[in-house]
Symmetry: C2
Subunit: 197 residues, 2 copies
């Protein structure tokens, strides 16, 4: 299981799409959310869009591996999503925030945590300016949130600097490929070796 987090504006979504396109047997975990769909987003593809009542009911039933409240909207990963993917022998990619990543790590110590950073605060601000129609106040809030989220990088295994997109994608792919060579993953598949890990 690969968990990826990043402050808004680091380019996480683009990197993830590129990685998912090019790595076989890596499935994307679709989150549940109470936020309304944005233009072009499809239910069951980008997210499972649910009402707050439905989300809280699932949460009470213990259906979520992790959940978080971000900007007044709930986000969560259903345990069912994970078991379906892992059951089919695939690795799984979770695109979740730092609160969620912490919960995953606490429950699944073998999860690999990856953090994507912009090359500098200046570039992050520039990217946010380009992409958002925010006023100065909203931009300041986003930057301030980013500065606080980034402190969680200390809890992650890997850090990818998204300066050049191709390089960031190559690094992400290398991490997935390398983790698949971990002794604990390889040895159990070698029957002829007669060695336990």
């Amino acid at each position: 299981m690969f968990v990826i987090s990043a402050p808004s504006g680091a380019g996480k979504t683009t990197v993830c799409h590129r990685v998912l396109e090019s790595i076989p047997d890596l499935a994307y975990s679709i989150s549940h959310t109470t936020r309304p769909p944005r233009y072009g987003e499809k239910d069951g593809v980008d997210y499972f869009f649910v009402s707050e009542d439905e989300f809280l009911r699932m949460r009470e039933s213990g259906d979520f591996l992790e959940w978080a409240l971000v900007h007044n909207n709930y986000y969560g990963t259903a345990k069912r999503q994970i078991s379906d993917c892992l059951g089919s022998g695939k690795d799984i990619l979770l695109d979740i925030d730092v609160q969620g990543a912490r919960q995953v790590r606490d429950q699944l110590s073998e999860a690999i945590l990856i953090f994507i950073l912009p090359p500098s605060w200046e570039v992050l601000e520039e990217r946010l300016r380009k992409r958002q129609s925010d006023d100065e106040e909203a931009l300041k809030l986003r930057m301030s949130n980013a500065r606080s989220e980034v402190r969680a990088v200390r809890e992650y295994d890997y850090v990818i600097i998204n300066d050049d997109l191709d390089e960031a994608v190559r690094n992400f792919k290398a991490i997935v490929q390398a983790e698949r060579c971990r002794r604990s993953r390889v040895i159990p598949s070698l029957n002829w070796l007669s060695i336990s890990v």
Copy 2:
């Protein structure tokens, strides 16, 4: 620091050459040995060829990071080799046996240990037959040594199966690239982040 070991016949040397050709800033640590040069081997390139007296003198002086006695020949990695490479900001690749790898791991916990395996015992035996002019007795000894060396795989971080050479090289390169994205490697280089690891 990357440490690589493998039983004879796993294809370690070829994999290492290919990796060293294609990864910048990865230097090969040249070992000292008391075994005589084979045809084509150059002093100071493949090994530093030294007398047993010289080797033992260096060992007494504490000049070696690790050393081992393999098939009646001494092999060792001079500390000087390591400090020269790391001082120039390069990563370093140590091609050493399982005894040496153990000593490195004990002294440098951040060393990354990689083990190369053949796809099966049958393939290993076939490769040894092709390449050695050994009689049956010598071949049996090599196979028996391989079976005993392979047990050390449990002490390694990564395992690469050398079935397809290109795939093995790709996996090795992915491991080096991924390890360069480790939080502990990346964060200290980011002055703008003002975060300690």
